[in-house]
Symmetry: C2
Subunit: 283 residues, 2 copies
DNA sequence: GCAAATTTGTTCGTATGTATT
DNA sequence: CAATACATACGAACAAATTTG
């Protein structure tokens, strides 16, 4: 029944953090100070601090000290605003996959920006090949942008197209420049592709090295990324066919996705409610 | 530039795991064996194992040993199948929030089950109160079910209603029994509430104690839960009003949400592509 | 049911390396 | 360069969980 000492120390430190005794960003006592304060070995207080770090409450930096993690306000992204069967409603394209979403970000009083697209031509990863309807390992064109909010890294978005689109007239796909009017308009104009629907897959997974680096996620595998994979379809002569796969990678703990369906209050998504982290509490 | 020894050991073990030298569920060498194998102190190999454990590659159990984590196939859940403005399409209610979703689960060849509802009457958490449009701390009725797939815990779902619904005729809301025909039909029959739309909020957060226990998540704060909060609206005389808030909590690393919009292939959601964990890789 | 053996978990002490100011 | 603070590494001992005889 008796808790190990390092857990007791961790619980005590947690209580002091949550009570506000240590404010966000404040420096914790050094390991030496904690050692004498709790009458434990330095290794033991290190175990306690490590436990808190693994839960994201504190961060340690060599030569500096240990600091209470600053809480980042989650950012609300409207994923889809689907209309009712008979009715009026938001257009098909919206939010995370289709346009740049900049209007929605500005509406929240924050400043979006993005890098110019980086163009990658490579054999398709399996997940992309399957969704894009091309053979495994077939060449695809990837157009990747790094997106920022208020100057801080926010998301990585890569759109993949079959490489044959380039040969069939979509030569600008491999130019590392923005497409005036957007990729959708370009593909419609050059190739006659008109989007009629899309499927989105949402999943949470550990970040890959490049993602962790850009999003400034810790290297300890604690924080995950939320990934939205949008597969876009057009109506070809022979039936529905995918023509684009867009992969958006976001830090999982800093994002709230919103989906509206049918008639909902306001044209825009509601703000996140306070205390979303306490949802579903049971007495 | 030289990597610390515990990282080298961890990298070597990882390579051996990923190469298949240690299969899923296989037992790693004991700490004593690793100590002599790598010529390091036991604490050092423990650091290496801890690093792998923090990334979810292995799990240690006292008295038994350390084992390669078994990969759990993610389960696909269709969140919304929104129809086109003019068109035919799936009905408004579907997937995770509205019905029980059992049909979709059976369609994947798996066996769903659920506990009978547990009824909770308590002051609303802030997030519920705001979304349900009741004063902070007002009494709400919560109906919670524990849901299983193939006998393994899958999700916790709690639907909240204003307590005044009970006084106004919805007395069965506080009975710990299933409502024949579902809660929607019951509310329509007894109170004349017809759902016209809903908003869903999707977020990732650390599990609370009861959630971690039910979902069998490790206690180390590594795995998160994915939470879907659905707010349902009806068209009251005075305008749109929320009447139900449903909170669904799922293990974040075992779920893929699917959203269809417009015309997409098949009536049902596509299977998850292989290697979703490698999405958006850049050469 | 108990005792022994095995294996991981906790705690201590010490020394040295590395990052930052 | 010096001081400070966290990071790495070693060695040792005992505790707790589990299996086995």
């Amino acid at each position: 029944m008796t808790e190990p000492m390092y857990r007791q120390i961790a619980d005590d430190l947690r209580a002091r953090i949550e009570s506000g005794a240590f404010a966000q960003g404040a420096k914790l006592p050094t390991e030496s100070e904690l050692r004498v304060g709790y009458g434990a070995a330095r290794n033991t207080v290190r175990e306690a601090v490590r436990l808190l770090a693994s839960r994201g409450l504190v961060e340690s930096r060599p030569g500096l000290g240990t600091f209470v993690t600053r809480h980042v306000e989650p950012f609300v992204t409207t994923l889809a605003a689907a209309p009712l069967p008979g009715g009026q409603g938001a257009p098909l394209a919206s939010g995370i996959g289709e346009d740049d979403g900049f209007a929605g970000i500005r509406a929240q009083g924050r400043t979006p920006s993005a890098s110019g697209p980086q163009v990658i031509v490579e054999p398709a990863a399996d997940s992309v090949a399957v969704r894009l309807g091309v053979p495994s390992g077939a060449q695809v064109v990837g157009r990747r942008r790094e997106r920022y909010i208020d100057g801080r890294p926010w998301s990585l978005r890569t759109s993949y197209y079959p490489f044959e689109f380039v040969a069939k007239g979509g030569t600008d796909l491999v130019r590392a420049e923005g497409l005036p009017g957007g990729a959708a308009a370009y593909l419609e104009q050059r190739l006659g592709l008109v989007q009629v629907g899309y499927t989105e897959h949402i999943l949470v997974r550990p970040p890959m090295a490049d993602e962790a680096k850009f999003l400034e996620l810790p290297d300890d595998g604690r924080e995950s990324v939320l990934t939205v994979v949008r597969t876009c379809y057009w109506s070809a002569e022979y039936g529905l066919a995918p023509f684009k796969v867009t992969v958006t990678v976001l830090p999982a703990d800093r994002v709230v996705l919103v989906i509206n369906s049918g008639v909902v209050p306001g044209g825009t998504a509601p703000e996140p409610a306070p205390g979303d982290h306490a949802d579903s509490a049971v007495a």
